[in-house]
C-alpha cells in the first residue's frame, strides 16, 4: 500500500500553510462588512474569473468529471462543455451585468436573494435565502464526505490514523474535519477576499497537480495511439453519447445546456459572488468570459486520467517465486477482491465485506469515482504525489469555501439584516457574517457526518439541485429579462417548481434501482433510461413548471410600477457596455470567439 513519504507531506503542509496564511495576512483589512462579505468590490477581472471557475470545480464536480471520463470516455468533454460554456457566456452577457449593477451606488446588491428582494418582494427573498442556505451547506458537507471517502479508499492516512489509534469511522471524520478546519480558519479571518485569493492558488495547484498525471498516464499507456488501442472504440468518439444515454438531442440541449448549465453558472450564488466582487462592471462581465475560455480545456485534465485508468492493467493477486543464493522466496501481492473484479485501475464497488457488488446484469458495478484518484497513485512518483494530493485537497477546499462565504453573506444580509435585526450596524453585520461561517461549517460537518451513516445522501445532491436551483433559474431568467413578472408570480413559480421536482423524482425510477433516494419513493409510474436521465428530467420538469407558473400568476397579478424596477432588468440595467452594434462590442466578440473555440475543440473528439 502506498505510504506518503516526507517529501509528499512537506508539499501538502506547505499548501495548507499558504491557504491559512492568506487568511492571516488579509485579516487586518476586514474592517467593514463590505470588505468581509463582498471583498470590498475592488478585485480585478482576471482574479474574479479564475475564482469563478475554481468555485465551480469543487470536489463533487472534479470527482464526477473523472468518473464520467472513465464511464463514458472523451465524449463527456462535449457534455461538460455543453453544460457550462453557453451558460457562462450567457451569464457574462446578461446575468452578471444586471446583478452587479443592481441597487444604488452606495448600497449595491450583495447576494442573489437580495436581488430577488429588490426585483420581486420580501417573501421571495426569504424563501430563496432559506433554500440557498440549506443547499449550500448540505453540498459543502457532502463534498467533504466524498473526498474523505476517496482518502480512505486510497489508504493515505492509514499510518497517521493508526498512530492516533483512530477507528475507520474516526479516520473518516478526521479527514473531513481537517480540511474543514483549514477552510473555516481562512474564511473567518479573511472572508471573501481570502477565499478568492485561495481559489486562484487552488486553481493553479489543480493544474500543476493533475497535468503530470495526464502526461505521465498518457506516456504509460503508450501515447495517444496506445490509448486508442487499449480502451473501447466508442470512448474516443461522440458515438457513445447515444449508446448508454438515450436522452436525445433535445433532452441534451434543454436538460444539460439550459437547465443544468443555467442553474449552475447563471444562478448559483456560490459562483456569482466572485463576479460580484469585481472592481467595476467591466471587470465583473469579464470574469465569466475568462472562466469560460479556460473551462474549454480544464475538464480534459480530469477526464483524461479517468479514461487512462481504464486502459491500464487490472491489478491481480500474484505469487512470484525466485531463488536467491539457494533460498527460495515467495512474494505474494494480495489485491482486494473488489479491486481485482474492476476494470483497469477502476475498482468495483465493494460491500461491507470487501466483496465486489454485482449489478442487475451479474457483472460487478464499477466505482468510477475512484478512477482519477487511483491514477495519482499509479503514475506520480514520491514528491509529485504530494502535489497531486494537494490538487485534490485544493478542489475540495475551493468548493467548500465558496459555499461557506456565500452562505454567510446570505445569512448576514438576507436573514439577519433583513428579518432579525433591521437596524443592525455595520459592525453587527460583520459579526453576524463571521458567526454564520462558524455555524455553517458545523452544519456542513453534521451533513457530512450523516452521510457516513447513510450513503444515500451522496445521491441526494442532484435532487437538491433540481429542487433549489432549477426553479430559481426560471425565476431569475424571467425577472432579469422582463419587467412584467411579479413577486407573487416568482414566489408561486419557485414553490411550484420545488413541488414539481419532488413529484417527478418520486414517481420515476431508473430500471434496476430500488425505490428510495434513486427515485420512485411515491409510486413508480415511469422508467427513465438512467439515473442521469432521471436527474436531468426532474430538473427540467421543475424548470418548465416554475417558468409556466411564474408567467401565469404574473399575468393575473398587478406588475410593479416601472420606476421601481429601474436598473433591475437587462433593458434598464447600467450594464457598462459599450454602445453600438453587437459585432462592435468587445464582450460579444469575445463570447462568439470562445463559443467557436469550444465547438472546435469538442469536434476533435466527436
Amino acid at each position: 500500500m502506498p505510504v506518503l513519504a516526507s517529501a509528499d507531506w512537506l508539499i501538502l503542509l506547505m499548501y495548507c500553510f499558504f491557504v491559512v496564511s492568506a487568511g492571516l495576512s488579509l485579516a487586518p483589512a476586514m474592517t467593514s462588512s463590505r470588505e468581509y462579505l463582498q471583498a470590498g468590490r475592488k478585485l480585478p477581472g482576471w482574479l474574479c474569473g479564475l475564482a469563478f471557475l475554481s468555485a465551480g470545480m469543487g470536489s463533487l464536480e472534479v470527482l464526477g468529471m473523472g468518473a464520467t471520463g472513465a464511464e463514458y470516455g472523451l465524449a463527456s468533454m462535449g457534455l461538460f462543455a455543453l453544460g457550462s460554456i453557453p451558460a457562462m457566456l450567457f451569464a457574462a452577457l446578461v446575468f452578471v451585468p444586471v446583478f452587479y449593477g443592481a441597487g444604488s451606488a452606495a448600497a449595491p446588491v450583495r447576494s442573489i436573494p437580495e436581488y430577488l428582494g429588490l426585483r420581486f418582494d420580501r417573501k421571495t427573498r426569504a424563501l430563496n435565502a432559506v433554500l440557498f442556505l440549506g443547499m449550500a451547506l448540505f453540498s459543502a458537507g457532502i463534498s467533504l464526505y466524498a473526498m474523505a471517502r476517496v482518502i480512505a479508499a486510497l489508504h493515505l492516512f492509514d499510518t497517521a490514523a493508526g498512530r492516533l489509534s483512530l477507528s475507520h469511522a474516526g479516520a473518516l471524520l478526521f479527514s473531513m474535519a481537517l480540511p474543514a478546519a483549514l477552510v473555516l480558519a481562512y474564511v473567518l479571518l479573511g472572508g471573501l477576499v481570502a477565499t478568492m485569493y485561495n481559489q486562484l492558488l487552488q486553481f493553479c495547484v489543480l493544474v500543476a497537480g493533475l497535468l503530470p498525471v495526464a502526461l505521465l498516464g498518457l506516456k504509460q499507456a503508450g501515447g495517444w495511439t496506445g490509448l486508442k488501442a487499449v480502451i473501447p472504440a466508442g470512448f474516443l468518439h461522440g458515438a457513445s453519447h447515444s449508446g448508454p444515454h438515450p436522452i436525445g438531442a433535445v433532452g441534451l440541449v434543454l436538460g444539460v445546456g439550459l437547465v443544468l448549465g443555467g442553474g449552475t453558472w447563471c444562478t448559483d450564488f456560490r459562483l456569482l459572488q466572485t463576479a460580484m466582487a469585481a472592481k467595476d462592471a467591466a471587470a465583473a462581465r469579464r470574469a465569466p468570459l475568462i472562466a469560460a475560455a479556460l473551462r474549454i480545456f480544464v475538464p480534459l485534465l480530469v477526464i483524461l486520467p479517468g479514461l487512462l485508468a481504464l486502459g491500464l492493467p487490472t491489478p491481480r493477486t500474484t505469487i512470484t517465486i525466485h531463488n536467491e543464493n539457494g533460498a527460495i522466496y515467495h512474494e505474494i501481492t494480495v489485491v482486494p477482491p473488489a479491486v481485482e473484479a474492476g476494470r483497469g485501475m477502476v475498482p468495483a464497488k465493494a460491500d461491507a465485506d470487501g466483496q465486489p457488488v454485482k449489478g442487475g446484469d451479474g457483472r460487478p458495478m464499477l466505482d468510477y469515482a475512484m478512477a482519477m484518484p487511483n491514477m495519482l497513485l499509479q503514475v506520480l512518483p514520491t514528491g509529485l504525489l504530494g502535489l497531486g494530493l494537494a490538487a485534490l485537497l485544493a478542489c475540495l477546499m475551493s468548493g467548500v469555501a465558496a459555499g461557506l462565504t456565500a452562505s454567510n453573506t446570505v445569512f448576514a444580509c438576507d436573514i439577519y439584516q433583513a428579518f432579525l435585526k433591521k437596524d443592525a450596524s455595520d459592525k453587527q453585520i460583520l459579526k453576524a457574517g463571521r458567526w454564520a461561517a462558524l455555524g455553517g461549517m458545523m452544519l456542513a460537518l453534521a451533513a457530512g457526518f450523516a452521510a457516513t451513516r447513510s450513503n444515500d445522501l451522496l445521491d441526494a445532491v442532484v435532487l437538491v439541485f433540481a429542487v433549489v436551483n432549477a426553479p430559481l433559474f426560471a425565476t431569475l431568467l424571467l425577472g432579469v429579462l422582463c419587467k412584467r413578472f411579479t413577486g407573487h408570480g416568482a414566489f408561486a413559480g419557485m414553490i411550484a417548481g420545488m413541488v414539481a421536482a419532488l413529484l417527478h423524482h418520486g414517481t420515476a425510477l431508473p430500471r434496476g434501482e430500488k425505490p428510495g433516494i434513486q427515485g420512485g419513493w411515491i409510486a413508480v409510474m415511469h422508467h427513465p433510461a438512467s439515473d442521469m436521465a432521471l436527474a436531468l428530467g426532474s430538473a427540467s420538469f421543475a424548470f418548465v413548471v416554475s417558468l409556466l407558473v411564474t408567467v401565469v400568476v404574473s399575468l393575473c397579478t398587478k406588475p410593479r410600477p416601472e420606476a421601481e424596477l429601474a436598473g433591475l432588468t437587462i433593458g434598464s440595467a447600467a450594464t457598462g457596455w459599450a454602445k453600438g452594434a453587437w459585432w462592435k462590442r468587445p464582450e460579444t466578440i469575445a463570447a462568439v470567439v470562445i463559443l467557436l473555440a469550444a465547438i472546435a475543440v469538442n469536434l476533435m473528439f466527436l
Binding site: G40, A106, C204, A208, P381, T382, G383, D423
Partner: protein, 93 residues
C-alpha cells in the same frame, strides 16, 4: 428595506481604500518554493530507480519542479508589478 440599507451605507465610500497584497505574489511564492523543493528532491533521488518506476524512469520531480519554479518566478514578477501599480498614489483616490 432596501432604502434603509442604502441610508446605512451612504456614509461609506462605494470603493473602500484598503489595499490588499496582489494575489499573484502568494501564488508565485508558493510555486517558487514548491518547484525548488521538487527539483531538489528530484536531483537527490535521480539515481534511485525504485522512486521513478511509476513514472517510467523519468525524473518527473526534477523537470516538473523546474517548470513550477519558472511559473512561480513569472507570477512573482507580475505580482510585484501589479502591487507597485496598486500602490501608486494616483490609483489610491
Amino acid at each position: 428595506m432596501a432604502k434603509k440599507a442604502a441610508a446605512d451605507l451612504t456614509t461609506k465610500p462605494a470603493i473602500s481604500s484598503v489595499i490588499h497584497v496582489d494575489a499573484r505574489i502568494a501564488v508565485g511564492m508558493f510555486f517558487a518554493l514548491t518547484g525548488t523543493i521538487l527539483a531538489a528532491f528530484g536531483l537527490s533521488t535521480r539515481d534511485r530507480v525504485e522512486v521513478y518506476a511509476r513514472s517510467l524512469g523519468i525524473d518527473a520531480n526534477l523537470w516538473w519542479g523546474l517548470a513550477l519554479l519558472a511559473f512561480g518566478i513569472v507570477m512573482l514578477a507580475f505580482g510585484r508589478r501589479g502591487q507597485a501599480k496598486m500602490e501608486r498614489p494616483a490609483n489610491r483616490e
